[in-house]
Symmetry: C2
């Protein structure tokens, strides 16, 4: 029971001290989430209340099924962008169909996550390599920031990739709305300053640390309040400033996702993509935070927790959600000890949905855009390019390709290509394995690369150490290599393949080894194996290779040398 | 020059003896190819002359650019089936658009092959594993044979996968044309018998071996002649027997592929697929035959040879071609020594195109279908299922999935899924690598798995031998494993990772190792590496891992043991 309902675990030891810590954390996170939820709904192309709704039921459901003590679930920037991109392909923004498609996306995503969790397939998320994730998040941050420029400038624009977005913004530069630009510019500037300097300024003024912290987190709220008052007082709406307008007042409604097979077919792939990206982002955050307190999370149960949260979003007027980085860190730093902090946050947001929505009528979209821009620019980290360049060209290629393709062709193609490229690069690397000719280190039983060490060799004996598992991608490479080496070295009477680093021989490689064996036999050359690992030998015994081998299998390379080298011909190199 | 025009190589030493051998081989192959070319054109859904045309210019071009001495290029069964499947999606069979689409397919395929050859990307063909190829060829053989049933029965049917084809044939069983069935059944029976018994029967009758061989190869010609005469004499055409009809008389026409971007877009992926499959089939045949005579072929130049052949087919009224298995073996067995044999075959077919086409007016389609059925059933080899089952479940899964998906969903999805599945299975296998805890074999410097051998261990020292390269797919696995092992074993003060089988550490794995290092340091446990290979160490030195390592890198595992194990606590297990 406890495995599937982690709430039974932490719920038993819940006491007054924990309650007080959780309540403080919930207060801080709620203040941060109100403008953020409205803003991310704007990013996803949905009405502002969808962001609030997506922060209530999902948090409660994750509190029941999730395993992280600190993760804060709700709308996040990257998933909002992915939602806009996926839903924009099946419905027009602003229509009822758009909102239904967003619910359906959350529903499919939740179903897929739960299915993965029940099948315990959490490890599949590992197919997204660190460089691909880093490149994707960085490029998404840039895309999101640029996508908000239109709100700051007060122009109509759109697009799903950087050239489109910039092109449309530039094409509309003549229509810039000055009051909007003033509000947007001021809000962006203030939020940047608040993020960097407000806490230290307040500390210098003698404000106690906890209060300074809450005030800093309230920066976006301040921007919201001031800009809303400005619009109301100066009637800027009449001068072309776009505002949030009417937001329904009340608790999240009960909603149903669309059930048309066509809609499902169109949204299935995006839902899988959103699930995987959201899961990877969420698990990384949860693992990092858990490790700091020596706690553990269970990735497969996390799938179920996030899946339940998304189903909750689908049934209560929301859209796809996941564990967010910024909010989870704030939650953790503010001292949240259990998922109850999340439940209190949900209550805070529910109160906001009931009581505060009329107050945001005059809130300008430009302020929300400023909130988003300041939040996502922390995602942009180009140092990954420099780090991977120094470490390995293959990893650099994967990062650079992911960034360029995401910026140039959009998020979905970008991340899919990133995964494809990293798999292809891995296959390419293993397709031309390092194969060293080895000789005996004098006075020992060790064999090393003849190009790197002073070793003894014997002209009639060719010993090759294969530094890679043998499988279909490199099977023919070894065939060609041995053919070439043996035809070049006329004196060779025996070939030993040293298998110390061969962790697998698949059926294609087995057929190649059989072909090598036949060809060498035709040429009167023996083929031997040495240092074959247990699991590999178990498999080879089930084939005809060992029976038909034109030579022997030696336990150690030294045994092979002892049996096959002609001492009179041994020479020190 | 010679690298790109292999003809310069063999052309210089050409003499009368070679000429005579090549002429005999050409005669035998020509006799075999005339009915086969007509039949494969039928399979591809094209008029019969397309098969003849596709056998003339392509052979000549391959003779100039190809590196195999024995390969016979032209229409082959699997590529004809793929052509029918691809072209059938953009045009209606029998229309002018259909023939143009087939030309375009050959053109794109030729361009792609030449591009691959110039970029020297022949190794990419290795991504098709042996089991996937074997499964695909077997399933294609079944599909092709079933697709010809309609011609044997004289009914209208179609379909691109086994359930469709069988369903349509069964639905039309009431319309079976009896004379067609008699011709088709008799031809199939005769051809099976000729293939199996004719040579030995003729030998028993005292016919000289070479003549017996030619007569056996002429079996299909005999079936063609007899059935054509039967249709003509009995006026079976009037009784519903479908015949070849008018075939234009003359040399191949000059043709142009379609140039519409839409057509190119629709045919590009199928063209790539056909190129890769054709290339793999052709290179396997060429390599097998070359090895028998101690010759070598150059896979990258083969790409150029096959590409030129396909461009030739596109410009002379043909359709995609490749090196065929059956015809190449016949060519080789008949004594062909140089590509000149192919050129003579082309001349033979040109003569047929000029002189013999009126003679096939009354040739029934049922006879051609019988030719195809008998030819392709030799492709069907289900023993690969049994062989891979015995050797490895993963390889068996790849074969079985390829066969089932090809039969059930058609050739294109089948082979694409086969490739995808074998890559995924490889990634899955490496995602959960074998990690052995090792101890010292008493009296030696060797370390072996504590579960398989009697070894010495030390409770404060955990030594893990990782039997796989570390990369993104398994990076987190190692992180979790070490976390689990160390939290379970409270006495552990040092962890040694023995890297003797780690051939690569990518950036994701580097970050995981850094995370492991940080976590172990927080727990007061040292992290050490041993037996790190040169290339891996070179890369790790470019990162911060080695500087920040909470321990040492030891050259050998014995050095690590010597430095870290506490002799007083050593116990024999």
């Amino acid at each position: 029971m406890r495995q599937y309902f982690p709430i039974l675990d932490w719920g038993r030891g819940y006491d007054r001290a924990t309650l007080s810590n959780d309540l403080i954390a919930a207060l801080i996170v709620t203040i941060m989430l109100i403008p953020q939820s409205l803003a991310y709904a704007l990013l996803a192309g949905l009405p502002p209340e969808a962001g609030i709704y997506a922060s209530i039921a999902p948090i409660l459901l994750y509190a029941v099924f999730g395993t992280s003590r600190s993760l804060a679930v709700g709308p996040v920037a990257v998933v909002s962008l992915l939602t806009a991109s996926a839903v924009g392909q099946v419905a027009q923004q602003g229509t009822a169909g758009y909102a239904v498609a967003a619910l359906t996306l959350a529903f499919l995503s939740g179903g897929f996550l739960i299915l993965m969790g029940v099948l315990r397939l959490g490890f599949l998320a590992n197919f997204l390599s660190h460089p691909v994730i880093a490149g994707f998040i960085t490029a998404s941050g840039v895309l999101i920031a640029v996508s908000q420029l239109k709100h700051i400038l007060g122009v109509e624009a759109g697009g799903h990739n950087l050239p489109q977005m910039l092109g449309l913004v530039i094409a509309h530069l003549d229509q810039v709305n000055l009051p909007t630009l003033v509000i947007g510019g001021a809000a962006t500037g203030f939020l940047f300053w608040a993020r960097r300097r407000l806490r230290s300024t307040l500390a210098r003024l003698g404000v106690p640390p906890l209060l300074a912290d809450i005030l800093t987190k309230a920066g976006p709220v301040a921007a919201v309040v001031v800009s809303t008052l400005a619009v109301w007082a100066l009637d800027l709406q009449a001068r072309g400033v776009r505002i949030v307008g009417d937001v329904p007042q009340g608790l999240p409604p009960l909603t149903l996702p669309g059930l048309s097979p066509d809609l499902w077919r169109a949204l299935l792939l995006p839902a899988i993509l959103i699930s995987v990206i959201g899961f990877v982002e969420s698990v990384s955050v949860a693992q990092t935070l858990a490790a700091k307190r020596r706690q553990r999370i269970d990735p497969d149960q996390e799938l179920i927790g996030l899946g339940a949260a998304n189903l909750g979003a689908a049934l209560t007027g929301g859209y796809p959600v996941t564990g967010g980085f910024a909010r989870s860190v704030v939650n953790f730093d503010a001292g949240a000890e259990t998922p109850a902090a999340g439940a209190f946050t949900a209550i805070g947001l529910a109160v906001a949905a009931i009581a505060l929505t009329p107050l945001v009528y005059y809130l300008p979209n430009a302020t929300l855009a400023a909130t988003i821009i300041v939040a996502v620019l922390s995602l942009v980290d180009l140092s990954i390019l420099q780090k991977t360049w120094r470490y390995s060209r293959a990893d650099f290629t994967a990062v650079a390709a992911t960034i360029l393709l995401t910026l140039g062709l959009g998020v979905e193609i970008g991340v899919a290509s990133g995964v494809g490229i990293s798999v292809l690069l891995h296959l390419y690397k293993t397709s031309r394995p390092h194969v060293a000719e080895v000789g005996l280190v004098p006075g020992t039983q060790h064999f090393r690369n003849i190009d790197r060490h002073d070793v003894q060799t014997d002209g009639t004996l060719l010993t090759l150490r294969v530094d890679e598992s043998l499988y279909f991608v490199n099977a023919r490479f070894l065939e060609d290599l041995i053919q070439k080496r043996v035809t070049e070295g006329c004196a060779i009477r025996n070939v030993v393949l040293m298998f110390s680093a061969v962790n697998e021989v698949d059926f294609s490689a087995l057929e190649s080894l059989e072909a090598i064996n036949h060809r060498l036999r035709d040429m009167g050359v023996g083929l031997h194996l040495s240092e074959v690992k247990g699991p590999v030998m178990d498999k080879l015994r089930r084939s005809h290779l060992i029976d038909g081998l034109n030579g022997h299998v030696y336990l150690s390379q030294y045994d092979a040398w002892h049996a096959l080298a002609h001492p009179s011909q041994v020479r020190a190199v």
